[in-house]
Subunit: 377 residues, 2 copies
C-alpha cells in the first residue's frame, strides 16, 4: 500500500491521525473543500490554504468534460493547473454522471452519457475513471461506483451494491500503485444493514488504502445517516482512513467524527456562501434577512476570517442583496474558515481526550442560535 | 479651499502632483477604480490597495437606492461601510440617473426618476446630491450636472450646459467646506469649442477645488475626445486637479495625461475583467479565445499581479469559459494592476522629463500586440 496513515489519538470511536500523500500531510479528521471545476469557487488557492484546508476535492465528471483530463495532464496535472500544491482527492465521476448528465445508460461495463455542457457522448468505466484520475494526478483516487438512489427496494440496492463491488475490483486492477498515491473503495448498500456489512466485507477482501462510505446524504436524514454510520464505521479496518462522502452540515461532521470518520467533503460551505447562508459557532445565519441590514456587528466577533474582520453584518447583507461577487467571496471564505476551525477543535479535543465536552459545548452553542438582533436606531 | 493640491513636476502639458484629502494623499496622474455599489466588484479592499490604487470612486445613484445614504451614514460613512480607509470620490448621480433610471423628468430644479431596482420614486437636485455625498463622507464631492447626450445640436448642448452651470453654482452653495474635503465642478458643452470655453469660464468664476471634464467618452471617439481635451484642459486653472470623467482605455489615459489631465475613472478594467478581456503591456487579450486553451504561459510574464503569478493563460481561459467567479477575480485584479502600473510609469516618466520616450514605447508595445500563439502539441 502506498499511502501512509497513522493514528495518534483515540477518544471513544473518534480518532486523530495523519495521512501522508505525495503532495503533503493531511491531519484527520479533515474536511475537504470541493474544487469542482479546478477551483474552489470564489476563492484563491492561497485563501483556501489560509482557512486551514490541507486537501481539496476535484470532480472527475466536470474536469473530463471541461477542460478534459488530457489537457490537465499536459499542464502537469491538477495541482499545477489550479495552483494548489497540496493533496487532492478526486471522485470517480459516477455520482455526478447520475445527477448531471443526460441520457445515461448504465450496464455492467459502465455508464454511457451525454455531457450537460454540450451534449457530447462520453463513457465512464472503472478502468477509464481510474485512468482519468491518474491523468489528473490525484493523490487519492476513488473507485468507480454507482451511488444507489434513495429510497430504494432492498433487492435493487443489493444488485447495485454488488455491481459496485465488481467495479471496485476492476478499479483496483486498473490502479497503478505509486508512492504517496492511493485508492479508496466505497461502501454502498443504501440503508440496509446486511448489504452494508456485505459491502464492507467485499471491499476489505479486495484491499484499499482507505474506505469511503457512499450513498449517504442523499435524502435519508440525519438519524438514518447516523444509524448507517454506526453499523458501517465500526466494522471498517481501524488502520485505514474512513471517508464519509458528500457530508455535510456542521452537526453531521461532528456526528461522523464521534463515530470514527476521518474525512469529509461537501459543497455546503461554498454553495451556501454564494447564497448568503453563513455557518457560525452560533448556528446558521441567513445574512439576506432584513434584521441584519443595519447591524454594525461582525458575523462572528470571535472569528478571524476576513469577512468577520473589517466588515459588518450590514455590509455583508448589502453585498448579498446587491448580488455582488464580493459577498460570495467573503461568505465562502467565512464558511470554509468555520468548517476548518470546527475540524481543528475536534482534533484538539480528541487529542486531549475531551471530545465529550467539546461536543456538548458545540451542541449548546448551535442550539442557542444566532446573537439577538440589535434594536433599530 | 479645503483640498491641498501641489505640482511637483511638469513635462510638456503633463504634470505630477499630490492631492491631499482627509483620508490620505493621491499621487497624480491617478486612475480611480470604480466601486459602484460600495465594492470594487470581485475585489477585496486590501487587494484594490495592493494594485497601487490610492482612491476609489463611489456611485451616488446606486448607493442612494441601496442601501441608502442615511444607512451608510449610520455605519460611519462609505469608508467604514466598505472597509476602504483611503480617499473616496463620489459622482453626483446625474450621469447614472440618465443611463439607468426609468421615467426620468428633468427640469430646472433637478431630476425626478424611478429606481431601476424596485421602481420607487426619487428626486435628485444639486442640493440633495451634495447632501447625499456628505452623508457618504466623500473626500471629493462632484457638482450635480447633466451629462449632455451625444450627438446633439449646438443649441441643445448650450441649454444643457447653461443649466449645468446654474446647478454648479447651487452645488457650490450647498457644499459645506471642511478640511480635507473638496468639491469639483464639471465642464460640459459637448463637442462645441465655444460652449466648452464658456463652461470653463462659468466654473472658474464660481471657483472649485478641482475641475472635471464631463460629457466625453459617450461615443464621440478617441480623436474627437482629444480635440475637446486640447481645447478644454489648456484653459483650466493650472493649480487645481483636472479630472477626465469615465475615461477610459489605456491609450485614452495616456492621451489625457499628455494633455494635462490628473485624474481618471472608468469601469473598463473591472467590467472587462468579468468578461474575459485583459489589458496588458502588449495590448488587449481576449482570454476566451481558443488560442489560449493549451497555453501554459502567464498572461504577462513581467506582470506581478496574482493572475500572472501561478496561473497559466490556459487556466484563466478555462475559468472564464466555465463562468467561474475566480476568473472574474483574477482578471479584474490583473486589469487594475495594469492600470496602476501604467499610471505609475507615466508619473515616473513625467518626474524625469521623459514622457515622450515613455509614450513612444507604450504605443509601440500596444501596436505590436499580444505574444504569438504557441504551436499546439
Amino acid at each position: 500500500m502506498t499511502l501512509r496513515f497513522s493514528l495518534s489519538s483515540i477518544d471513544g470511536a473518534a480518532r486523530c491521525g495523519k495521512l501522508e500523500t505525495a503532495h503533503g500531510v493531511i491531519n484527520t479528521p479533515a474536511f475537504m473543500p470541493v474544487g469542482t471545476a479546478a477551483t474552489v469557487k470564489a476563492m484563491l488557492p492561497e485563501s483556501v490554504k489560509a482557512t486551514g484546508a490541507e486537501i481539496v476535492l476535484g470532480n472527475t465528471y466536470h474536469l473530463m468534460l471541461r477542460p478534459g483530463a488530457k489537457r490537465i495532464e499536459e499542464f502537469g496535472g491538477l495541482h499545477d493547473f489550479m495552483g494548489w500544491p497540496g493533496p487532492i482527492l478526486t471522485d470517480s465521476g459516477g455520482y455526478q454522471v447520475m445527477s448531471l448528465a443526460t441520457l445515461r445508460k448504465i450496464d455492467e461495463d459502465g455508464v454511457r452519457f451525454r455531457s450537460h455542457i454540450d451534449g457530447s457522448y462520453h463513457k465512464l468505466t472503472p478502468e477509464s475513471s481510474i485512468e482519468i484520475q491518474r491523468s489528473l494526478d490525484a493523490d487519492i483516487t476513488m473507485a468507480f461506483d454507482e451511488c444507489t438512489p434513495y429510497p430504494v427496494a432492498e433487492t435493487i440496492a443489493e444488485e447495485s451494491m454488488l455491481m459496485s463491488m465488481r467495479w471496485a475490483e476492476r478499479s483496483k486492477k486498473a490502479f497503478k500503485q505509486k508512492k504517496g498515491y492511493g485508492l479508496f473503495g466505497i461502501v454502498q448498500g443504501s440503508t440496509f444493514e446486511k448489504l452494508r456489512l456485505n459491502s464492507v466485507d467485499a471491499l476489505t477482501e479486495i484491499g484499499f488504502d482507505g474506505y469511503a462510505i457512499g450513498g449517504l446524504a442523499v435524502g435519508e436524514g440525519h438519524q438514518e445517516m447516523t444509524r448507517i454510520l454506526d453499523i458501517t464505521a465500526s466494522v471498517l479496518p481501524e488502520n485505514k482512513p474512513r471517508y464519509l462522502m458528500g457530508v455535510g452540515k456542521p452537526i453531521d461532521l461532528v456526528a461522523g467524527v464521534i463515530r470514527g470518520v476521518d474525512m469529509f467533503d461537501c459543497v455546503l460551505p461554498t454553495r451556501s456562501g454564494r447564497t448568503g447562508q453563513a455557518f457560525t459557532r452560533n448556528g446558521q445565519v441567513n445574512i439576506r434577512n432584513a434584521r441584519h441590514s443595519a447591524d454594525p456587528r461582525p458575523l462572528d466577533e470571535l472569528c478571524e476570517c476576513p469577512a468577520c474582520n473589517g466588515f459588518s453584518r450590514g455590509y455583508l447583507h448589502h453585498l448579498v442583496r446587491s448580488g455582488e461577487i464580493l459577498g460570495a467571496m467573503l461568505l465562502t471564505w467565512h464558511n470554509l474558515h468555520y468548517y476548518q476551525e470546527l475540524m481543528n477543535g475536534l482534533r484538539q479535543a480528541i487529542s486531549i481526550n475531551k471530545l465529550d465536552n467539546f461536543v456538548q459545548s458545540f451542541m449548546e452553542m448551535q442550539t442557542k442560535g444566532d446573537i439577538k438582533a440589535i434594536e433599530r436606531l
